[in-house]
């Protein structure tokens, strides 16, 4: 390539910054969903770059299911303060009052109420018209077809048959009151791109991504971390200390750990290159058959 052309990471970076700025320029009330994971970390870093030396002209929002890893919450609060950006935390208080949780109500009901419903509540409450998310097209088959600007009706529903054509780098931001657009600025990044970029730009991430001895129990073939005292142990179940790390982050009872010795970014990248299972396998909610993510998205799951 010509020596002054951009590398793929620089090109992806530029494309994402372009999208983030378009949204800031064309919407009245955008928000960035911040999940505390590595993809959110990259998206947030790109946002800081897009508006430098200014601050991002929109807040972050975290939909807290109250079952996230303790370390995630600590990381979230420290980061927001250090960057000096506004962070909104939304919790589905109805769900909390009903005592909804993954152990008592199962993963599906918990996710529906605390995550999907919580998200809708948060968006309705603030009447956001554009909502950034850190989803990538390489994560899952139905996401491979989603637009960068993904239109949602007043009930936050996605209609895969009726997506707006999206050409060149021109994005159609038109919407009526009550409708909103989900925006995925890192659509074209792969998992490897994300890790490389974190490495190249030295972006801080939650320590849970790095291997460390942690108390875990084996459930349905997956290591689940005993993150706090709410985790009920089955008879004869004793947590053991294992050198583990997490490839994705979410609610701790629903997020499987992998045995690993990777304590640095190059080691994580190396492990990733040698690995033989795709990223989302760590997420227990995707296992109910082909097409399940598409179904969830139509219902309003991000």
């Amino acid at each position: 390539m010509p020596d002054y052309a951009l590398t793929h990471l620089k090109e992806l970076e530029a494309e994402s910054i372009h999208i983030i700025r378009e949204v800031a320029a064309e919407f009245d009330n955008p928000v960035m969903l911040y999940s505390i994971g590595k993809d959110s970390a990259v998206m947030l870093h790109l946002t800081m770059k897009a508006f430098y030396p200014g601050k991002p002209p929109f807040p972050l929002m975290h939909v807290d299911t109250t079952w996230k890893f303790g370390e995630m919450i600590k990381f979230r609060d420290t980061l927001a303060e250090r960057l000096g950006i506004k962070l909104l935390v939304h919790i589905n208080e109805d769900g909390v009052r009903q005592g909804i949780g993954p152990f008592t109500h199962g993963s599906q009901k918990h996710t529906d109420i605390m995550k999907t419903e919580g998200l809708k509540q948060g968006l309705n409450k603030h009447k956001f018209d554009a909502v950034f998310g850190g989803a990538r097209r390489d994560e899952e088959k139905s996401r491979a077809k989603e637009r960068v600007y993904s239109f949602r009706d007043q009930h936050h529903r996605w209609d895969p048959k009726n997506q707006r054509p999206e050409l060149w780098n021109i994005y159609n931001s038109e919407h009526n009151q009550g409708e909103s657009i989900r925006v995925f600025p890192i659509s074209n990044w792969t998992e490897l791109d994300v890790w490389q970029y974190i490495h190249m730009e030295a972006i801080p991430i939650v320590p849970l991504y790095f291997a460390k001895p942690r108390p875990v129990v084996k459930r349905d073939g997956t290591w689940i971390m005993v993150d706090d005292e709410r985790m009920p142990l089955k008879e004869g179940e004793v947590p053991e200390m294992k050198m583990v790390r997490f490839r994705t982050l979410g609610c701790y009872p629903l997020t499987g750990a992998v045995e690993s010795t990777a304590t640095t970014l190059p080691e994580i990248i190396q492990e990733m290159l040698l690995t033989t299972t795709s990223e989302r396998q760590g997420r227990l909610i995707d296992h109910d058959g082909a097409g399940s993510m598409e179904q969830k998205k139509r219902e309003g799951y991000f």
């Binding site: 010509p2 090109e11 700025r21 030396p53 895969p160 021109i170 490897l192 080691e267 097409g291």
Partner: protein
């Protein structure tokens, strides 16, 4: 070797790998061809062989393949690629799917697009961001009309380098003669197109021949394998060598000491100290700093997103353009363009839309449709409107001039979309061919007697009162009463209605949707001239579509267009039926009759809504005269 040195060597290896990967550039390509040509199989094969498929995906693929039974129990690579549930069931690719893989030489983003004619818009979407197109042909079928159609669309979208992937060579015994004949056949057709290079490769996606590994079955073929070609083809030079173009997206003003213009360089490069011109204003300045986060760059190049500061205070806002001062681009408000229609609702002459080009957004109306293509053989056919998936040549008129370049010279400066103002749908993709005139050269002749002068002489401004409502709603009754009331007040008026317009000016028009649009366009233009002459024009037409009423409104200054919605429910209007038209329509003798089998779109924000069911004519007129 101790474990520590092994560990150190390993880390070094990973570091080297990361460093090498970080230097790769990105190639975006599109694959076209129908399902039968093995397109999805080819992409699945490339992903599989580049080892971008994980074990769990292969497991689920095996079980899916068995369940579908499409490849007799073997892995069906197409299932990897066809994403949405509906598509898996129907066995076709409806949408554009993006896939990602990399080798040691490059990163790739593949847009996999559907082949059928009814999905032309999806193919255009996929092609809009592609550097290279891989056009699949089934060796046993030869060049088909769809091969020509795909090639035409690819050429139209400005892709300069194509691969003619002659697939299923296994079905023709890998014979060179078959390949050579097919390539020759294709070349003859492609001479009409604008490709810079065509690379023909004999393949078998199913078996893997010449996809990544050179095939032992085609010793007669000396060219590159498909991946070998994609890894090395050079595509960005022209964009980098182009004159500097920088559309301003966002004015960054965090505090009084910093005023930067954020955007993405769409062509060329610029360095600190370079002279730039702001378009459309034409003001000059020099680049002071090129900011990318905490770095201050010496230079910015095409595709880079940066923030530029200038050495002096000039007026710049979103939608403006910074360009190199020695090669600025044209500014115009009238264009000949190619349109690819993407909406169920067809495009008509006279309709007006939002046009988005870069960060510029303006109103645009279609002033003419010159022809549409028969996309199977590139013949030009006459057209009055453009339907979904049709590609045509049209002329556009904008409400203000924009900076642009012909699409063929610079994609980002000539590419635009049209957006419907009500449905908000992206109705068309467009590419500028050329400007019809240079707006900068046109100076409207300054008249000493102008609208204001005429208004002073008459004692009132020229305006239009635009009635809209169902047939039988009472528009004509109200128009006549209003004219009488205004006349009594010494106001100069004129009524345009079906009786005096349909029989003269518009007697060549029928009642199809296209003719109705044209009917209203002419009425609006005539009303504008009369209002300019100082008259208060009263129009009484059903004018059922918002788009046309809005187009009419856009011709007038704010306050000079008074839209009056005569809000009479259908059942009352039908009961009145003064001309017996509803009865005829109900009997099917009047097709396209508003309210019966053609929609009426009520105004969203009329200046006045009158309800003839509840108010007397005098009350309605009383409200109306206050606007004049």
């Amino acid at each position: 070797m101790s474990t520590q040195t092994t560990q150190a060597a390993l880390i070094q290896k990973v570091d080297d790998y990361i460093a090498a990967q970080a230097k790769l550039d990105l190639l975006r390509f599109i694959t076209c061809g129908s399902v039968d040509d093995g397109k999805s199989t080819l992409i699945g094969r490339m992903l599989y062989e580049a080892q971008m498929i994980f074990e769990d995906q292969v497991t689920s693929l095996r079980s899916d393949s068995k369940r579908m039974g499409t490849q007799g129990g073997e892995i069906d690579f197409a299932l990897l690629v066809d994403g949405l549930a509906a598509e898996r069931e129907q066995g076709i690719t409806i949408d554009v799917a993006y896939r990602f893989f990399n080798t040691d030489r490059r990163k790739f983003i593949v847009a996999d697009t559907p082949g059928h004619e009814q999905y032309t818009r999806n193919m255009v979407t996929g092609a809009s961001n592609a550097d290279v197109a891989v056009i699949l042909v089934d060796a046993s079928q030869g060049v088909l009309s769809q091969t020509r159609r795909h090639s035409f669309v690819v050429s139209l979208l400005g892709i300069k380098h194509v691969v003619l992937a002659v697939n299923k060579m296994d079905l023709v015994g890998f014979k060179q003669q078959v390949f050579d004949d097919l390539v020759l056949d294709y070349q003859k057709f492609a001479d009409k197109l604008t490709f810079e290079s065509i690379t023909a490769i004999p393949l078998s996606a199913l078996l893997g021949d010449n996809v990544i590994e050179r095939s032992a079955h085609t010793n007669w073929y000396k060219g590159p394998t498909l991946l070998g070609y994609l890894e090395t083809v050079e595509v960005r030079q022209a964009q980098l060598d182009h004159a500097f173009r920088f559309p301003v997206q966002w004015v960054n003003r965090p505090h009084a000491d910093f005023r930067g213009f954020a955007g993405t360089v769409v062509a060329g490069s610029a360095s600190r100290g370079d002279a730039v011109r702001v378009l459309p204003s034409g003001e000059m300045a020099h680049i002071k700093d090129i900011v990318l986060y905490e770095n201050n760059l010496q230079q910015c190049v095409a595709d880079q997103a940066v923030t530029i500061t200038l050495d002096r205070e000039v007026d710049v806002s979103r939608g403006d353009l910074l360009v190199t001062s020695d090669a600025p681009c044209e500014v115009s408000d009238q264009f000949e363009v190619t349109l690819v229609w993407m909406d169920q609702e067809q495009g008509f002459i006279g309709r007006s839309y939002w046009l988005k080009l870069g960060s510029q957004r303006v109103n645009a109306s279609i002033t003419d449709i010159k022809f549409k293509y028969d996309i199977n053989n590139l013949e030009e056919m006459s057209a009055k409107s453009l339907h979904l998936n049709e590609i045509g040549r049209a002329t556009l008129k904008l409400d203000k001039p924009i900076a642009f370049e012909p699409y063929a010279n610079c994609r980002a400066m000539g590419a635009f979309v049209l957006i419907d103002r009500y449905s908000h749908a992206t109705v068309s993709a467009g590419m500028i061919a050329f400007a019809l005139r240079r707006a900068s050269n046109v100076h409207t002749q300054a008249l000493t007697v102008d609208k204001a002068a005429r208004a002073t002489m008459k004692g009132h401004r020229g305006k239009v009162i635009w009635f809209t409502g169902l047939s039988g709603s009472g528009k004509s009754t109200l128009a006549n009463a209003a004219e009488k009331a205004l006349y009594e007040r010494g106001i100069h008026t004129y009524i345009l209605d079906g009786d005096n317009v349909r029989q003269g000016l518009n007697k060549d028009l029928g009642f199809t949707a296209a003719d109705r649009v044209e009917n209203i366009r002419r009425i609006a233009e005539v009303a504008k001239l009369m209002a300019d002459a100082g008259l208060v024009v009263i129009t009484a037409f059903i004018s059922p579509f918002r788009s046309e009423r809005d187009m009419a409104r856009s011709l007038f200054d704010a306050g000079d267009f008074i839209e009056v919605f005569v809000d009479t429910p259908l059942n009352i209007a039908e009961e009145r039926d003064p001309k017996g038209l509803y009865k005829k329509a109900r009997r099917g003798e009047l097709p396209n009759f508003t309210g019966i089998d053609s929609p009426y779109e009520p105004p969203l924000a009329a200046e006045l809504t009158v309800s003839t069911g509840e108010m007397t004519v005098e009350e309605c007129v009383g409200l109306l005269v206050k606007f004049v």
